[in-house]
Symmetry: C2
């Protein structure tokens, strides 16, 4: 079936999701004798590893986004469709979109994950997560408004609450966010206010496991923690959040219960597979894991369908464990999976096949503040300034478009030498101005989760 | 009264509005023996002349915004207050803010204007204007989504309506927007779509007067019009909009009535003074003009209050006419007024005075597309590529912060040589995806006017 094009049309590869996995698969099919349709809800590819820099005012949304149509405009066998997939019929080989249907020969699903509140969805409004540009702008708004509110607040206790930031989750996002927030509070904003001292800002990074950056080797976790502490971040490991109220976080550390007054709570923990996982499970009988990711076959196909693939964060690839876990939800895994599936499709069209997918781990990177990072390349682990340069190089290198690389490089150089941040604007401030911020924060449009 | 500081505090200058007028006044008071408080609803200064480039995806919001606190952080005698002024008491010399009061010795009001629909406020949702960053993002969203919708639209007539853009108002904003839109449709997006030909896009620029750019000399208006037409824009002068319906604009040209089917209507006509004008009129007895601007004295003070000034777009300065009109609402006027009032305050504190304000007109600039502009320096008028370079130079020069200058220069150079635009992302796409875009466009949050 796979090899037989319906009528005379070329083999139609439909890719759902324009993240790292989907976009790399589409681009790798450039010279293949196929027609590629890339479907995404958004019109741009997002470089998610730098989203925290948008949230902290270092970069603008456009700096880390590339219009999908622009990226693929020269790829004649590819078209982009802005739309949302709501169902799959594997028998008919059709996708159901909102007002239309689309048939495919091969389907690649790469719709990723969103953040997740472990069954406490009411926390979403109080502790926004960081997956989309809108999330990042909402975080930026809350962070900057907190300093504005503190500046106006005469009551010392309330002022302290405005200057307390709680970050839940000590993975790469939480660590990088904490470092950037420390830079912002202790350097960038230092001389901007007249009634508060931003060096009194308290930044708390909470992690449930016994160390931050749990997927990294323990010595790098320790380095990262000491770098953060040098920057002024308070790191609390082995700490669980039990409730989040409007201005109060309750945490548990072993037997110890503690209340923290904080007006700004940011979520960098937990994830949940996108709804496409369930749609696939229903229609193909594929298994889902506990967070809703699709458990894929050795060649990344799902269930009994050799022409349906799941790649990227949405895939749970259980055939190659890393530290007892399935492959992590990071960009390099998604890219390699996208390339593998593209290759497999080309091979199959020639009647050939490929050995099972195998992830080649080139290492891990996380940045901590202005000139420190941790790098784990497997054969070598290092941290500090050199690691920071490596981090910069890799992140610039993988920005999809050249103009992004250039602008981001300049923004970073500028931020580095001046400790300024150009992108500190608060947009959509709504009616917070009336100082009755607490009430209004909750009545705003809920954060999209 | 003016010269006597209350108790031992320094003379307190309160400036409302951080646009060109307010910010220049604040900066010019750097070494004066005064305390400056700059109040703004937003936390950033906006370089409004480039807002249309944000609306058309050439620049990011942060590129044309400078955080007010950052700009003034080294000016020790200045503080920034993010807040909204709702009233003035000239007798008590106090300003009423939402939850607090503030007393002043000298008050400078520079709150500007917003766009205006000539009594047709219901048009605001259908034809958004361009005054704020949020306006620009909304315009960008509508423009880019129109092409996305056209790409999916099977009906040729509806597709044509998606590809028709009507711009109301042939002033500098309308002209620059039309030029940028033509570049976008006919160049940038040319190879991005597979089912539409973006060169079929129709861009209509409507102007009620008998020529576009009415404040400019007639020969430059003619040049601008022919440049626009060369780019593919249809210019209709002497044309009034009589109704705007969801997908239909009715226009009148003399006796002739015409209906245009267009899904995207952009507003670049009409303005209305901000509410501070009325508040001042109520409390000081100052006269307002027909659009609500405050008619100021020769030294920019209002009514009988020598310590209350109105500057910038909100001021109607009737003592120096230009082409039979009061001074235009452009950045150079606001800047010179800001500097004048700052100077006057310094002089007065020394017991001296200044001759009345006189605007020195260095000329007008407007850009048309990728490499053409019109320049009127009074003693010389020119257009074309050289004018375009002059326009670029002036706009880069007046960007407040150096990092903005650098990034904007690179973005422009990049856009110029590649005709690409990095900032083409659609944010907040809401539920438009269901193709029932027409209905949902109207149920969205109304545009802030």
């Amino acid at each position: 079936m796979f090899n037989q094009a319906k009528n005379q049309n070329p083999h139609h590869v439909v890719i759902v999701g324009g993240g790292f996995g989907g976009l790399y698969a589409a681009q790798a099919l450039k010279k293949a004798p196929v027609k590629v349709t890339l479907i995404d809800k958004r019109n741009f590819h997002l470089f998610q590893p730098l989203l925290y820099q948008v949230a902290t005012g270092e970069l603008s949304p456009a700096d880390i986004s590339s219009p999908l149509r622009g990226v693929l405009s020269d790829q004649k066998n590819a078209q982009v469709l802005m739309g949302e997939v709501i169902g799959v019929d594997p028998q008919q080989q059709t996708l159901k979109l909102q007002n239309t249907e689309l048939s495919y020969d091969t389907l690649i699903v790469a719709t990723g994950v969103s953040h997740h509140y472990f069954g406490n969805d009411q926390w979403a409004k109080k502790a926004p997560g960081l997956k989309t540009i809108e999330d990042a702008m909402e975080m930026r708004r809350r962070i900057l408004l907190a300093f504005e509110a503190a500046e106006k607040e005469p009551d010392p206790e309330k002022r302290r609450a405005w200057l307390t930031f709680v970050l839940v989750g000590g993975g790469p996002t939480g660590v990088e966010l904490a470092g950037a927030l420390a830079e912002l509070a202790y350097n960038t904003l230092k001389s901007d206010f007249r009634h508060i001292n931003t060096s009194e800002t308290k930044i708390l990074l909470l992690e449930g496991m016994d160390r931050i950056l749990p997927p990294y080797p323990p010595q790098l976790s320790a380095k990262a923690q000491s770098s953060l502490e040098r920057l002024g971040v308070t790191v609390q490991t082995g700490t669980l959040v039990t409730t989040i109220e409007d201005e109060q976080v309750t945490i548990r550390r072993g037997e110890q219960i503690e209340q923290i007054s904080a007006k700004t709570i940011l979520w960098a923990a937990g994830m949940k597979a996108s709804a496409m996982g369930e749609a696939l499970a229903r229609s193909t009988g594929a298994q889902l894991d506990r967070v809703g990711r699709v458990i894929v076959n050795q060649d990344l196909s799902v269930g009994g369908y050799s022409n349906i693939f799941v790649i990227g964060d949405l895939a749970n690839f259980p055939h190659q464990y890393k530290n007892g876990q399935p492959l992590p939800g990071v960009a390099p895994v998604a890219m390699q999976e996208g390339l593998y599936v593209a290759n497999l499709i080309r091979k199959r069209l020639k009647g050939e096949t490929l050995p099972p997918f195998h992830y080649r781990d080139y290492g891990n990177l996380a940045v901590i503040g202005r000139n420190s990072a941790v790098v784990d390349l497997g054969f070598v682990k290092f941290s500090g300034f050199l690691a920071w340069l490596a981090w910069i190089f890799v992140h610039i290198f993988f920005l999809i478009e050249f103009d992004n690389k250039l602008v981001v490089m300049i923004q970073w150089a500028w931020n580095y030498f001046t400790r300024k941040r150009g992108a500190r604007l608060i947009t959509n401030p709504v009616a917070w101005l009336s100082m009755g911020i607490e009430e209004e924060r909750d009545s705003r449009t809920p954060i999209k989760v």
